[in-house]
Symmetry: C2
DNA sequence: GTCTATAGCCTGATAGAC
DNA sequence: GTCTATCAGGCTATAGAC
């Protein structure tokens, strides 16, 4: 109170820094919407600027290039997907229940964010390579899945083969196949409707029969 | 010899018509190469003209628009893929052997033509909608697969559930998942190498265990 | 942080001469 | 069927004033 210029505690982030972060988030929101509407390759600086209500050169105060915006969309998407999956897994019993709950939550999120999902799974922008730190959440997702498979084997829910790279790759084929077919062929159907997403339980049926518990 | 202007039998297609068809094929070849190098969205009239050795306006003598070229690539790809699969199925025993042989041949072809495969499976060019007649081979491929599944059930190679739409959709998830993961993550590996295509037999292992023969 | 102005590209498509 | 010329627009990015 003595020397402080105001009565509030000093904010850890001042107003203008916060406003800057808000603008960055808004740019990423606009970029994602644009990719959803016009295709992943339909992202342009000019249109982002138009929707944000500024002129294109102003965007360079927030991002160094168009590819930098792609990277920001990619990174935020990876982070969000990881947190969704982690939360769903933590709320379920260890092993197979955690795995199915986590992957279903991740699939729901992916289907609701098709542009980011395409950017992450199918690399439709050849000139875009995500930065290593933007890829980090992806490794963490793999780790969570591997741990769940290990738990499932330990708990006797799955056979020993389920705790291998082969099983992990097979799982990724199942999930990305489901998402790809749903997004390409039933783009307007929400999760649980259409021809593909209702088959989600069937995927785990197949997976379990491929690696049945020994007992 | 009396009134004929030359000694050869009259060709069913004259030279200039044949040359025109050759040019059209060459344009499609160039378009596919370009999409492979620069991404499916990297196809431009200007670059096609450059590689063909003409100026862009000349292309309009062969195609009405850029989207027309996309459609030609799409149609020729569908046709080729269908014929590859049909031939492989015909060379194998009916039922499950025909199905696996046909799908493996199709997958090999798809992996060797990633740009067309992306165009067919994942629709990365939102403004491009294939013409109905270009989609026809796709329906025929589905028919071939459905027939093979029916035969497999009749022959006792698979259980009754394998002859359903659900099984067909599940099969498409497996195949498109394998291709998508292989193309995105092991783009330079040929069929049979890398982390995903060696799992092809595993897919049918899972499929068979999901729909086991009753006996 | 915003703008204007501009450089230096690219694109699809058409008109009309030859 | 080829070309030149052109339209009408798009884009990323930078320089520099305010």
């Amino acid at each position: 109170m003595s020397s402080a210029p105001n009565h509030d505690a000093p904010p850890r982030i001042d107003r203008r820094a916060q406003r800057r972060l808000d603008t960055i988030e808004e740019i990423i929101d606009i970029a994602e919407a644009l990719m959803t509407e016009e295709g992943v390759n339909g992202l342009t600086l000019s249109e982002v600027a138009r929707r944000l209500g500024v002129k294109p050169p102003s965007l360079y105060k927030y991002f160094d290039s168009l590819l930098d915006i792609y990277d920001a969309v990619f990174r935020r998407g990876q982070q969000a997907n990881l947190e969704i999956m982690r939360a769903a897994m933590a709320a379920a019993a260890p092993g197979l229940p955690a795995l199915t709950a986590g992957l279903e939550a991740s699939c729901r999120w992916s289907l609701a964010h098709p542009a980011i999902t395409q950017l992450m799974f199918w690399r439709p922008v050849p000139s875009f390579e995500p930065r290593p730190e933007s890829m980090a959440p992806s490794s963490e997702m793999v780790n969570l899945q591997r741990q769940a498979l290990t738990d499932a084997v330990s708990l006797g829910q799955l056979g020993p083969g389920a705790d291998t790279d082969e099983a992990l790759f097979f799982l990724s084929i199942l999930i990305s196949g489901l998402l790809g077919q749903a997004m390409a062929n039933d783009p307007d159907e929400p999760w649980g409707r259409g021809r593909f997403t209702p088959l989600f339980p069937l995927l785990f049926n197949a997976f379990t029969k491929l690696y049945p518990p020994s007992a």
